[in-house]
Amino acid sequence: MISIENLAKDYNGTRVVDGVSMQIEGNSITVIVGTSGSGKSTLLRMINRLVEPSAGRVLIEGRDTREEPAHLLRRRIGYAIQGHGLFPHRTVEENIATVPRLLGWSASRISERVAELLTVFQLEPKTYARAFPHELSGGQAQRVGVARALAAEPAVLLMDEPFGALDPIIRAKAQEDLLDIQRRYGTTILLVTHDMDEAFHLGDRVGVMSGGRLLQYDTPERLLTHPADPLVARMTGLTDRAMRLLSLTTAAALAAPGSCAGPRIAASASLREALSELLWSGSEAGLVIEADGSPRGIVTVAAILAHGRPA
């Protein structure tokens, strides 16, 4: 768990982060979303002390981050950035091994870990371990960047616009991968983005920042249904907030017992996708199908519409 207490940063008399306090749950994904200049990146960089706070403090598992030298703190915290920042003169293998080497892991432990991460990130070790970054596609390089950040098994992973440079299809895939990774390793992830859809899709909790202040920090549902600030309401999207709300729930959650002749809808599909499918096929109800092919129940247009209204 990370506690941020009254954190502030001044640059030449300008306050770029202004008294931010928040509790970040362990084993979850927290997303900070805001426009450029909102102070979100500075906030993130104060956690691993790439930026030293002007006021306030950060506690990780109850320990003040200033208790140890900054570079030792950073070796315990994963860090992934936009444009991956891979070292161009080092192979994929050497890039991933960066922090384990700094920590003095044994060669056998390092190569085991590298092979494991490459496999998890769907990069065949035989093909990619010895490749140089310039030989990778954008999506592959980004995956190596995240693998590198996770190499030393950090409990906390900080990500600064990690998917910002990817095209939409690869980006969606990278987001799914990240959710898998979080479930697999139980890492506490704090991610910064300017993309509200990404924030809602990934975040267990989402913080909205503007002008250096944390406007609201809540679950995606609560941000949509109970915006604490007109600016939050505007940023989360006044016009399509009902659809956004639907995209936060899966068809499985709304499945009712029964059977029908309507279209088949994957249990993992969001209600937004389910509604779209039902509208397209002109059906009133669809059959929810589990990943293994077994029927889960039915979902109706009426039930979905009812769910799209704030409670």
């Binding site: 950073r74 960066t98 700094l102």
Partner: protein, 389 residues
């Protein structure tokens, strides 16, 4: 594939130019100059008039065979082989001519390579260089070729076959001094480069880290670069002379107004700008996200510099080192004027005595040194650039 009739008329432009120039030089300019002694102007002789019929015919036949290869053959290996055969034939003809024209036991008459032979040799060397370029050899191969070339050259000269040629006669007289001045030349060029790297690299890193001082430091180094070398040697004489006068220990260490000290200092000052400027440029091209990621993952400042920034900047820094080394090898020549030693000593002595052979004894090795340094460092830069992309 059989060449079509049209392809036969498609001449290689460089081959055509070099063939024409070589043939013209060999037929219109003297092959060797016979001089009564080392300082009087010589009398030119054509190849056919100095060698017995068979020898001249053999040499001309080989050279005549090079021409069609240069004009029509595309395969680089064949072109290289032809050029090397031509160089060998020409060199052997020169050696034979020198031996034939020197009266037995005579140590005064000089047989010098004539303008025609020089120009033909240069044409053949260009043909060989062009062929090597077309082979696109890897950096390691280029260095190998250089070593083989130098090895063959040294073996040929050591064989005694060329001893009667005037430059070699000049060498025989000065053999001991030649070795000493060659060492002095290399020591001055490499030593001032090493000092410049030792000072310039930290200075470049400092300029990169503190942008405010960058402009001022580079401006000062730029001004130094514009001072002509002979003027800089002169400017340095006064302070170094004063230093030696005030501090006897300095004089005992060799720091004097004239000699190697002002030469080394001047070369060092000239070397700074390329080293500092290339260090700054090299560090500036290092990817920002890579440095940011390195810091974010917990590298210390020194680790970021040594493991990320410097390795990535190294190809550019070495390009600067290459410039400096080649530039130094040339400029050390001028250092002879203030008693700095080096191969320039022969050049200026030769000019003073109007002994052109002595000038060549200094100048040819300087060109060979600069050329070798350029090939070696180019190869090094290419290897680094390939792995440090």
């Amino acid at each position: 594939m059989r060449p079509s009739p049209a392809a036969v008329w498609h001449l290689d432009p460089l081959g055509a130019l070099l063939s024409a120039a070589g043939a013209l030089a060999l037929s219109c300019l003297p092959f060797v100059d016979v001089k009564a002694n080392r300082i009087v102007p010589g009398v030119g002789h054509a190849l056919t008039s100095v060698l017995p019929g068979q020898g001249a015919a053999a040499c001309l036949a080989v050279l005549a065979l090079v021409v069609p290869v240069a004009l029509w053959v595309r395969r680089p290996w064949l072109r290289l082989a032809a050029a090397l055969a031509g160089i060998t034939a020409l060199a052997l003809a020169l050696a034979a001519a020198a031996t034939l024209l020197t009266p037995a036991g005579d140590r005064v008459v000089r047989i010098a390579t004539g303008a025609g032979a020089w120009l033909t040799l240069i044409c053949l060397a260009l043909l060989a260089t062009d062929a090597v370029t077309r082979l696109k050899p890897s950096p390691a191969r280029r260095v190998l070729y250089l070593i083989v070339c130098l090895g063959v050259l040294i073996l040929a000269l050591a064989s005694g076959r060329f001893d009667e040629l005037s430059v070699m006669r000049e060498y025989a007289v000065n053999a001991e001094r030649f070795a000493r001045e060659l060492r002095a030349h290399v020591a001055l060029a490499v030593g001032s480069l090493a000092a410049a790297v030792l000072v310039g690299l930290p200075l470049g890193i400092f300029c990169h880290r503190v942008p405010r001082v960058r402009g001022a430091i580079l401006a000062v180094l730029n001004v130094i670069q514009t001072v002509p070398s002979i003027a800089l040697f002169g400017i340095l004489m006064a302070p170094l002379g004063a230093l030696a006068a005030a501090w006897p220990l300095a004089e005992r260490l060799g720091i004097r107004g004239i000699g190697a000290a002002p030469a080394a200092v001047a070369l060092f000052l000239y070397s700074l700008l390329p080293i500092v400027a290339n260090t700054v440029a090299g560090l500036a091209r290092v990817s920002r996200p890579a440095v940011e990621a390195a810091r974010g993952m917990g590298m210390t400042g020194a680790q970021v510099l040594l493991r990320i920034e410097l390795p990535l900047a190294l190809p550019v820094i070495f390009t600067g080192i290459r410039v400096v080394l080649v530039q130094n090898i040339g400029m050390v020549t001028v250092a002879a004027l203030i008693g700095g030693g080096g191969l320039g000593t022969f050049v200026f002595q030769g000019i003073g005595q109007t002994a052109i052979d002595l000038v060549l004894l200094g100048a040819i090795p300087i060109v060979a040194l600069a050329f070798s340094a350029a090939v070696l460092l180019d190869a090094l830069v290419e290897v680094m650039d390939r792995t440090h992309r």
